[in-house]
């Protein structure tokens, strides 16, 4: 993918941004459960490694690689975003790809023009939605946890009592069926019944488009917890799909508290009429 010129690095952006990272969401009103409730969004301060994990997903391998790149004086004149691209590709090549089956590897590098989110305005499936950029609004209720995402305005329900959960159709669905429980200070969510879809192995901000696909055998365990200082929401996900993965993948995501942000409707998607195939090679 060819480089693209963007405008100036604008310090004003930091000021005009929500600037809410120092605030924490309101504590949960429910007693006896970890306080995860509130609006979370992009990481705008603190450790660069956390910002890396805000742009899609990250792994321990990728974070370590980024640390090495940042500490290398030879990279002092390179933009951080370029180092992100290098670290992202490194974790794809050294962590994700070795854990894919031949079938999973065969799907790598899918054409972005085939993305149903692009071609059909079809919202993302589970594996991409849980790492979606921007806001995540968490609402903790007695019998369930609601997850509302800024990207696609998508909503998930995590049922805390599986027996009371309204089982939907037996067919796999875009976001699957989720049940959860609290484990100390952590919300643990188990999701199955996920329809086959794109897998988010590579994002287009890295230098290659390297997404792949997963099957409807995908299962996931998400673990949500606050950071020690309370200002971050940390997600660790274990993904297991026997069709595309030879062993489970452990991916991470970080958000910052953002009580002043809002989620807006996502109702104006326009199906493209004028596009080309094969742009991933740009």
């Amino acid at each position: 993918m060819k480089r693209k010129v963007f405008g100036g690095l604008v310090s004003l952006g930091i000021v005009l941004a929500t600037g809410s990272a120092a605030c924490s969401p309101e504590p949960a009103t429910l007693a006896g459960v970890p306080a995860l409730e509130g609006m979370w969004s992009g990481v705008l301060n603190g450790a660069i490694e956390d910002m890396f994990c805000d742009w899609g997903w990250c792994t321990d391998v990728g974070r370590e690689r980024l640390r090495v790149l940042l500490d290398d004086a030879a990279n002092d004149k390179r933009l951080t975003i370029q180092l992100f691209g290098d670290a992202a590709l490194y974790q794809i090549e050294h962590y994700v790809v070795p854990r894919l089956t031949p079938a999973g590897r065969a799907t790598l590098g899918v054409d972005p023009a085939d993305d149903p989110g692009f071609l059909l305005c079809e919202p993302w499936g589970f594996a991409r939605q849980i790492f979606a950029p921007h806001q995540l609004l968490i609402t903790q209720l007695e019998d369930r946890v609601e997850l509302h995402y800024g990207t696609w305005d998508a909503r998930r329900t995590v049922w805390l009592d599986e027996h009371k959960a309204p089982r939907g159709a037996s067919e796999p669905s875009r976001l699957g069926f989720s049940v959860g429980h609290y484990d100390g200070e952590t919300l643990v969510v188990e999701t199955s019944g996920i329809a086959a879809n794109f897998a988010p192995w590579g994002w287009d901000w890295s230098s290659r488009f390297i997404d792949g696909k997963h099957s409807d055998e995908l299962r996931a365990t998400e673990r949500y917890a606050r950071s020690e200082d309370g200002d971050r929401l940390l997600l660790t996900v274990t993904l297991d799909d026997p069709w595309s993965m030879s062993e489970p993948l452990v991916l991470k995501r970080v958000w910052s508290a953002a009580p002043n942000e809002q989620i807006y409707p996502d109702t104006d998607c326009e199906r493209p009429r004028d596009f080309i195939k094969g742009s991933a090679a740009q």
Binding site: W55, T80, P112, F209, D266
Partner: protein
């Protein structure tokens, strides 16, 4: 594009693709080329997943060609303070963006200049870009 920047540095950022887009834009837009058009705002819709601008551009010979300028979504733009009035009908503006592969009258926004000379750039939409370099600067200070 002549510009009076509303904020600092002239350092240009090079980076690939769209960071926080909900999908890749490369099937539609040629990120290796740019096009610049001056025209009158007919409509600005600050919506998700992508905001759009209708720009009436007077071409040579007097024909007015309606151009569509596509932006990142409201979810991105509002984080940087954009609102429904950032671009108003009747405003005469100059916009630069990536053209479509087919050269249809459409572009993906990179930067624009408003009637008062202020300039808006795509990098400004994503405060993460500025925050990143600030974090990097602080990290370098600690290292030394």
């Amino acid at each position: 594009m002549k510009a009076k920047l509303i904020a600092t540095t002239a350092a240009m950022l090079l980076y690939a693709g769209s960071i926080h887009a909900h999908h890749s834009t490369t099937p539609v837009y040629d990120t290796t080329r740019t096009v610049t058009k001056t025209g009158v705002v007919a409509q600005f819709r600050l919506v998700n997943p992508h905001a759009t601008l209708k720009l009436e551009v007077a071409e040579e010979g007097g024909n007015v060609v309606p151009w569509i300028v596509e932006f990142d979504g409201r979810v991105n733009l509002t984080r940087f303070g954009w609102n429904d009035d950032t671009l108003k009908p009747g405003d005469r503006i100059t916009v630069m963006g990536n053209p479509t592969h087919s050269n249809s009258p459409r572009m993906f926004f990179i930067e624009l200049e408003r009637p008062d000379g202020t300039q808006l750039r795509r990098a400004m939409i994503d405060p993460t870009v500025g925050a990143l370099e600030e974090a990097r600067r602080q990290r370098a200070e600690q290292k030394h």
